[in-house]
């Protein structure tokens, strides 16, 4: 005969009123380690058992607030710091647009977190090896009876006294519940070898499948169809054309949109300067535009003030100063022509600057020249 260890004594009742009364009696008799089992929650039983209010509400609040903070922080970081994008002109941190996701994450974290806390912390589930499982008591209580169970580790526990107590409050089917031997050896599941091996194999299988799916399958047909298209890519080689290039040159004689032929060859400066008149006025807008383009394109060699001592520092031959008398006496058309066609080491800028932009630079150069050659009447 195996020595069985007593877990508790149980008794059944037939009506909800009886179980409420029983709860009050148990408390009066001074038992602390007891529990009541009902097929559904009975109103007023919490109070009768003198149970504390469940703190899960606070869990939910804290988890929800955490969720909100996490969501907002994440969105702020990704949208304003890590990779800001101008989307429809909206600000990088657009709080009205972030509210929906914040709300959803709040609810998600609060709900899932509270449920998991309840199951793991408060219930200590899953636990299918409790002594009450598979007993007639449990069968009755899960259908239509109400039960009281006083555990043997209660300080006031005495087998006979407890059994008499049950009879006195009107319970029937007073049974003793014993631990099954397997149930006694409950170690923490986490350390059992079966569980650990199971976890490791799940990890390996999951990562294996993920690796295969994302690194191998996505590159196989038909998932690769979008990647492998019939059309030629600009930088790729091809056997279709003899020279092996996918990129083709435009047909001879193709002109760009807005192209206007420039009639003055590079060396006919006199012709250019006599025929080209600056069409732009000296407005603030033109001067500012000219300044912006000058600073971008001209200042590396000519310097911001046109002195020629630029930040190239002689690595490339320094151009002469734009403030010499010779430069000042050039006509506007001459400057325009030099910008367009280049001269000596200076390259042609006709492909980089539009006509209007070149004229605006001309205006700005004139302004620079006047700035270093100011006269008395300029101050009026």
């Amino acid at each position: 005969m195996e020595r069985k260890i007593l877990h508790s004594v149980t008794g059944l009742f037939n009506t909800p009123d009886e179980i409420i009364k029983a709860a009050k009696e148990v408390n009066k008799a001074g038992y602390k380690k007891f529990d009541i089992h009902t097929p559904y929650p009975v109103h007023g039983l919490e109070k009768a058992m003198k149970l504390q209010r469940s703190p899960l509400g606070y869990f939910a609040f804290v988890l929800g607030a955490t969720g909100a903070a996490l969501a907002l922080f994440f969105m702020w970081w990704t949208m304003s710091v890590a990779y800001p994008n101008n989307i429809g002109g909206k600000p990088f941190f657009s709080l009205p647009a972030f509210i929906p996701v914040t709300f959803e994450v709040t609810v998600l974290l609060a709900s899932v977190g509270t449920v998991i806390s309840m199951i793991v912390i408060f219930f200590k589930f899953p636990n299918n090896s409790h002594p009450l499982h598979d007993t007639d008591y449990m069968k009755a209580v899960s259908t239509d009876k109400y039960g009281l169970c006083i555990e043997s580790n209660d300080p006031n526990f005495n087998l006979e006294k407890v059994k008499n107590f049950f009879s006195s409050i009107g319970a029937y089917n007073i049974t003793e519940i014993y631990w099954d031997n397997e149930e006694l050896n409950t170690k923490k599941v986490i350390f059992e070898p079966k569980f650990v091996i199971g976890l490791i194999s799940i990890a390996i299988i999951t990562s294996g499948i993920t690796y295969y799916l994302l690194n191998k399958l996505m590159f196989m047909e038909p998932f690769s169809w979008m990647m492998k298209q019939q059309k030629l890519s600009a930088q790729a080689m091809t056997t279709f054309f003899q020279d092996g290039f996918s990129m083709r040159e435009p047909v001879v004689g193709t002109v760009a949109r807005g192209f206007k032929p420039y009639p003055y060859p590079a060396d006919s400066v006199i012709l250019a300067e006599n025929n080209l008149i600056n069409p732009l006025e000296y407005t603030e807008e033109n001067l500012n535009a000219g300044k912006a383009k000058y600073n971008t394109f001209c200042s590396p060699c000519h310097d911001y003030h046109g002195t020629g001592q630029a930040r190239l520092n002689g690595q490339f031959p320094n151009p002469p100063s734009l403030h010499s008398d010779r430069a000042r006496n050039w006509k506007d058309g001459h400057i325009y022509h030099v910008i367009t066609m280049g001269q000596n080491t200076m390259p042609a800028y006709n492909k980089q600057l539009s006509e209007k932009e070149r004229w605006q630079i001309v205006l700005y150069v004139r302004a620079l020249q006047r700035a270093l050659n100011a006269k008395e009447e300029d101050l009026q």
């Binding site: 509400g57 609040f61 429809g88 002109g89 909206k90 009205p96 647009a97 509210i99």
Partner: protein, 399 residues
């Protein structure tokens, strides 16, 4: 059973002193309003619109709550229905408030300005709806319709005290069902006419719902405050419990969330699409000093009531509920101030928010009106619907 012979409610008269205090406040309010009109008619008219929409919303909100109780067959609210019905009587005050405005519509409403109509084709296009005659007809028609429903729902309920006829309930349920869609249209028209047309270029399909949410919240908070105050001082039944008050707290919480949801939807959609005809309303409330007021609205009307009511115990604690109810009631004033007054300050030179004795006349007038109406109507009447067959079941309610 011994419980059958219990006296559920003992009628206790409201003290006469209460009426006198109310009258004093009301007279002060009237004096301030009249003074305001003689000093600056434009500003006073805007403030009067504020008073009107505030009181109208409370009165109609209360009537809505009466009908709602009938339709859903709620038990817990039956003991408080008489208080709700007395609050609904406020709708009779609104015609008086509206007279100074109806006689001077063109002071406030720019859609009566002929130059503006010539200049702006969008506003001119609304003339079939926004014109003086139709406006007055709508206003009067809604008064009449709501007065009829008041008589049908509330008047018969008063009668039921004596006759104890259960058929009154049956018919009231049907009438309440009929009332609801008519109420929806009326409160939408009120919000469009008095509030949305202050800026005739602007439009929002959700505005009726927004005004409805705020008004029901204001009515609910007023009813909560009055009910708890009366119950504490023995004017209602001694069998009322914390469970009854919990429902008030829960409803205030729910409607606060609902209002915030509607307010946010309206704002976010208009912000996102960025269409000038719609954003102009929010721009008015985002410029100069109004931006701080707008942020304040979120805090005052949503954040604080939400945090104050989120836990279960706070929803049933009578003391806290009274304070929160007063807060929410005044928060609705804040909301209406934020809707109405920026349209006034747009017409001024500085555009900044204004607050002085002009604006103070509004809460004084409104509180005075509520006080006087309640004490006047509640005099000699039962403060609970003792003739309702569900009266006892309502008192027995527990969570």
């Amino acid at each position: 059973m011994s419980q059958d012979n219990l006296v559920l409610y003992e009628k206790k008269e409201l003290p006469g002193k209460l009426t006198i205090i109310g009258l004093a406040i009301l007279i002060l309010g009237i004096i301030l309003t009249v003074l305001a009109f003689s000093t600056d008619t434009l500003r006073a008219s805007y403030n009067l619109i504020l008073s009107l929409t505030w009181i109208y919303g409370i009165g109609l909100g209360a009537l809505f709550l009466v009908a709602l109780e009938y339709i859903v067959g709620a038990d817990w609210s039956v003991p408080f229905r008489r208080v709700t019905e007395i609050v609904a009587t406020l709708i009779f005050v609104v015609p008086i408030l509206s007279i100074p405005l109806l006689l001077n519509l063109d002071t406030v409403f720019v859609w009566l300005n002929p130059e503006l109509l010539k200049a702006d084709k969008y506003i001119a296009g609304k003339v079939p709806y926004l014109n003086q005659d139709f406006f007055v007809i709508r206003t009067i028609a809604i008064f009449i319709i709501m007065f009829i429903f008041y008589y049908l729902l509330v008047g018969r309920s008063f009668k039921q005290d004596k006759t104890k006829n259960p058929n009154i309930n049956r018919l009231s349920v049907k009438l309440s069902a009929l009332f609801m869609p008519i109420f929806a249209i009326c409160i939408t028209v009120i919000s469009i006419d008095w509030l949305m047309s202050l800026e005739p270029k602007w439009f929002s399909t959700i505005f009726g719902v927004y005004y409805f949410a705020g008004s029901v919240l204001a009515a609910l908070s007023l009813i909560t405050f009055i009910s708890i105050l009366l119950a504490e001082n023995g004017y209602l039944s001694k069998y009322l419990t914390e469970d009854h008050y919990y429902n008030f707290g829960a409803l205030m919480f729910a409607f606060t969330n609902f209002w915030a949801y509607i307010a946010f939807s309206q704002f976010m959609l208009i912000w996102y699409a960025n269409i000038p005809d719609e954003t102009l309303w929010y721009m008015t409330r985002g410029n100069e000093g109004w931006f701080a007021v707008s942020i304040g609205l979120i805090i005052v009307k949503f954040a604080i009531p939400y945090l104050a009511l989120v836990t279960r115990p706070s929803k049933s604690n009578q003391f806290r509920l009274k304070i929160i109810a007063v807060w929410v009631f005044l928060a609705h004033y804040y909301d209406l101030y934020w809707i109405v007054m920026p349209e006034y300050t747009r017409k001024t030179a500085e555009h900044t928010p204004v607050y002085s004795w002009f604006e103070l006349s509004v809460p004084i007038l409104v509180i005075g009106l509520i006080w006087v109406v309640f004490t006047f109507v509640g005099k000699n009447k039962n403060l609970m619907p003792i003739g309702d067959p569900k009266f006892r079941k309502g008192l027995e309610f527990h969570l």
